[in-house]
């Protein structure tokens, strides 16, 4: 079966000036595996939330994750791996506590990295999620 690609969008709507115009999407479902675009402080209507506030950006990112997973037929409990990118060690505690609240009781695997930057300078946190829908729930 062909992969399902949800919330396709054109990059000219996201990056400045519309100089690059290519297609991306928010979610790819390949069989029972769900891959999400890295989630940030941008909500799903492309409005940026939490300028200068990493915790608020993480909160928005995780709200997006829930919506995107459910649209693809999955749920938070199916999350297997969370990779968290932050741009400053100072953001770790506030970001992880927010993400931890959204993931309470899920118990995913995690990897946390401090990096130089993300796609846009105002992004302080990005969260990569991979989820698998168990066969008997698909």
């Amino acid at each position: 079966m062909e992969h399902q690609r949800f919330r396709k969008f054109n990059t000219s709507t996201v990056y400045d000036g519309g100089r690059i115009a290519n297609d991306m999407c928010m979610t790819v479902r390949a069989g029972n595996i769900i891959f999400l675009r890295g989630q940030t402080g941008f909500d799903l209507d492309n409005k940026f939330v939490g300028k200068g506030d990493a915790a608020a950006q993480a909160d928005q990112a995780m709200k997006n994750v829930k919506i995107l997973l459910e649209e693809a037929g999955a749920k938070m409990a199916h999350i297997c791996k969370v990779t968290t990118y932050i741009t400053d060690r100072a953001y770790r505690e506030p970001v992880y506590n927010i993400v931890g609240r959204h993931l309470k009781g899920v118990f995913p695997c995690g990897t946390g990295l401090i990096v130089n930057g993300l796609a846009l300078a105002e992004m302080l946190v990005e969260i990569d999620i991979e989820a698998v829908i168990p066969a008997d729930e698909a």
Binding site: A30, Y85, N116, V132
Partner: protein, 277 residues
């Protein structure tokens, strides 16, 4: 059946961190095994090894990490030779050779694909190294590992590095396909004029298309793409190269600016994940 989540923990119980975050060291699904990034800390968080911030310390942490990974996979009913892909994160280029030599010793003969990135840091300042592994249990059918090579015969940018690892360019494990992080050099390692990040990105994507084809898949099977660039100025041209090569295949993209890649000659690297549809 729900996934099996092994060695559950909460971060607040580890090393005095004020973080309430429920995790597991391993999540076992029907067809794949996910693992928390392994580092130089004991699995019970009783201590961290190699805390002196030297290259030797990084190698000590890598040794602990690989031993931990072996234990975790065994608990999940898998083994090191089920590993498809590793992502090696170090916080200083000086750690690269000792860390990789340690990994190479543990993974001798396995030939995973690999992506190596230099980042600014990890959960705690004393952590110098973290390894992520993508694991699919083979269950009697060995994974297909194509274009195997030994790192010491390969070129990283314009350099050769004696890092002592058995790697390959593409692993096919059931329907999942894992590629080596692709850079601006050809699959034959030729690199006459590496050019800017856009040129590198275009070459990387030509490699991706070839490798997917050799693994019996195509661009339309791509699910996730992680683009690494070494400077914000490199991100836009690299992104444009990646996306224009994908054409009308919309992928789920993440973009990360990192401190460095395998060689200072490289401005970008792209990690591509695919599932044969």
């Amino acid at each position: 059946m729900p996934h099996v989540r092994l060695r559950k923990f909460n971060v607040r119980d580890w090393f005095g961190q004020g973080i309430d975050w429920d995790g597991s060291m391993v999540v076992r699904c029907a067809d794949e095994i996910y693992v928390t990034g392994v580092n130089g800390s004991e699995l019970d968080a009783s201590r961290t090894h190699g805390t002196g911030h030297t290259a030797e310390d990084a190698a000590i942490q890598a040794d602990v990490a690989l031993n931990n990974l072996k234990i975790l996979l065994a608990e999940a009913g898998a083994a090191l030779d089920d590993i498809c892909k590793i992502n090696v994160y170090i916080s200083d280029r000086a750690y690269r050779i000792p860390v990789y030599r340690t990994i190479g010793r543990h993974l001798r003969g396995i030939h995973p694909v690999s992506t190596g990135v230099i980042v600014n840091g990890f959960a705690r300042p004393e952590i110098l190294f973290t390894l992520d592994a993508c694991v699919v249990p083979q269950r009697g059918t060995p994974h297909t590992r194509l274009r195997r090579y030994h790192s010491d015969d390969a070129q990283y940018g314009f350099e050769r590095q004696k890092i002592g690892c058995d790697f390959c360019q593409v692993v096919r494990a059931g329907r999942r396909i894992y590629l080596r992080g692709q850079m601006g050099q050809t699959l034959e390692d030729s690199l006459t004029d590496i050019g800017d990040a856009g040129t590198q990105g275009a070459q990387a994507m030509r490699n991706v298309e070839i490798l997917l084809g050799e693994a019996g898949a195509g661009l339309e099977d791509i699910t996730k793409v992680i683009l690494y660039a070494t400077d914000r100025a490199h991100l836009a041209p690299a992104r444009a190269a990646v996306l224009s090569h994908l054409g009308d295949v919309p992928c789920a993209l993440s973009e990360i600016i990192v401190k460095g890649l395998a060689s200072p000659d490289l401005s970008m690297e792209v990690d591509v994940f695919a599932v044969q549809s």
